[in-house]
Amino acid sequence: MFFFLVIGLWKWIIYRWDLQPFILPPPELVWERFITVLKSGSLWFHTVFTLTEAFLGFLAALIFGTFMGYILARSRLLEQLFSPYIVASRGIPVITIAPLLAIWFGFGLPSKVFVSFFIVFFPMLINTIIGIRSVNIGHRELMRAYGASRWQIFRYIEIPSAMPILLGGFKIGITSSIMGAVVGEFVSADRGLGFLVNQSKGLYDTPLMFVAIGTLAALSFILYTSVWGLEIILLRGRPEQNAEQTRF
């Protein structure tokens, strides 16, 4: 329903202001372009590339972010030592370090993975710290009373307690990872959906630009929804899950 409304509005805008296709292409032209790049395999080629960058960046940020987050959550000293740098580095707009990363890591895959990592790392780190700190003091005391080992506390108490907040970080991180990959591609690339947007801009191939942007949106949606599904599985049976399930 909403979809048709948007299409209708879209067509009406073109009609009302008599816009040229290179400014605002009509939906059917975008659809046509979509079919051609889909059939030629080039859309798939670029999508896979962007997805790989985003996924590797996300994975690296997931591993390092949760690992460092756990250490900082458990050690006041390290937290005080590192937090100013982490917070300061967060203030740097990613778009300004992307060129630097391109110089350091070349124009291929790694530089985009790093940009993606850089964006995703922070939400992962912060959410891990908040998550681990959210462990109920009583639960910790109880585990101590039972003489639980570090590992048992980690596995039975810390991970499950932190899980809802960690998953919140995943949700932010997974969509940011796509953003990071595209920013990386904007700076320097010869493939990927971000590159495709750039290229179509140069060729005034606006329908293709729409296709690339639409694919990015679809990608975000699919990834986000997968994490959401994961969340439903992992948090099954918890009181907060008993309430109506929402996407956010």
């Binding site: 109920n136 009583g138 585990m143 009373a145 039972y146 003489g147 049976g237 918890r238 009181p239």
Partner: protein, 259 residues
């Protein structure tokens, strides 16, 4: 479980003091506590808010270190007793884990202590039956009433069949009706298991109803003001609460508290 009065005391506290330090201020919580508890006793600690009752129970459980003095449990130092899992503990809140069903909550101590898995279910069922929750093993804790949640916490504390049960104001947040009901059940549990209970409370009637002895602590720093034996007959029932000796003891302890 062994229970003979000729044995050494199950808990021995000698000259225990505790200071907390914050912002260069030294705060004394406990001052030279001496106390010994016989096996099978039900001992209540009562005193004004902030008098160190909870601190004392945590020192007994080796969850806090005393600044000076010695705690022996079953003749062992407190740390060894904790590592040997000589006691179970119940806190003011049930501290159950929302992400596990009741049975898995109760089996946690067994899991942590490395009991053979084959024994878990029997022990868990046995203790759930003891607290009257045999039909609730597959329910999540948040689906239970607060009284039932406390029963689960008691079942969990007893699942390893410890000889001591530490209870830190376990029913403090409950309504009067639920609380009296749980008091009765707790006594029945004690009759059945012979576990020694150390019980922190704010309520004088609760302490009198449950205990064999009531330890009255002074305001901070906590010292032992008096230890009052409660020789009300067993088994205690709702009638006990209405008997004159019960009221006399309540009055006596109130007087000691205020003195």
């Amino acid at each position: 479980m062994r229970l003979s009065k000729t044995d050494q005391p199950i808990i021995e506290i000698q000259d225990v003091s505790k200071y907390f330090e914050s912002n260069q201020k030294k705060l004394q919580a406990l001052d030279q506590i001496d106390l010994s508890v016989e096996a099978g006793e039900f001992l209540s600690l009562i005193g004004p808010s902030g008098c160190g009752k909870s601190t004392l129970i945590r020192i007994m459980g080796d969850l806090l270190k005393p600044s000076s003095g010695i705690v022996r449990i079953n003749g062992k130092i407190a740390k060894q007793a904790r590592l040997d899992r000589d006691y179970g503990i119940v806190f003011q809140t049930p501290t159950l884990f929302d992400w596990w069903k009741v049975a898995r909550n109760v089996e946690l101590p067994l899991k942590v202590m490395g009991y053979p898995k084959a024994e878990w279910m029997d022990l868990v069922r046995d203790k759930l039956k003891l607290v009257g929750l045999q039909d609730f093993e597959n329910v999540y804790p948040w689906q239970l009433s607060s009284g039932m949640q406390h029963r689960v916490a008691i079942a969990r504390a007893l699942v390893t069949q410890p000889c001591i049960l530490f209870m830190d104001e376990p029913f403090g947040a409950l309504d009067e009706i639920t609380r009296e009901q749980l008091n009765l059940e707790l006594l029945n549990i004690q009759y059945e298991t012979n576990v020694s209970v150390i019980f922190v409370t704010h309520s004088v009637p609760e302490a009198v109803f449950l205990s064999t002895r009531v330890v009255v602590l002074s305001d901070r720093p906590g010292t032992i003001k008096n230890i009052i034996p409660v020789d009300l007959p067993h088994p205690r029932t709702d009638k006990t609460r209405e008997s004159p000796p019960f009221f006399d003891l309540v009055t006596e302890i109130r007087a000691v508290l205020k003195a």
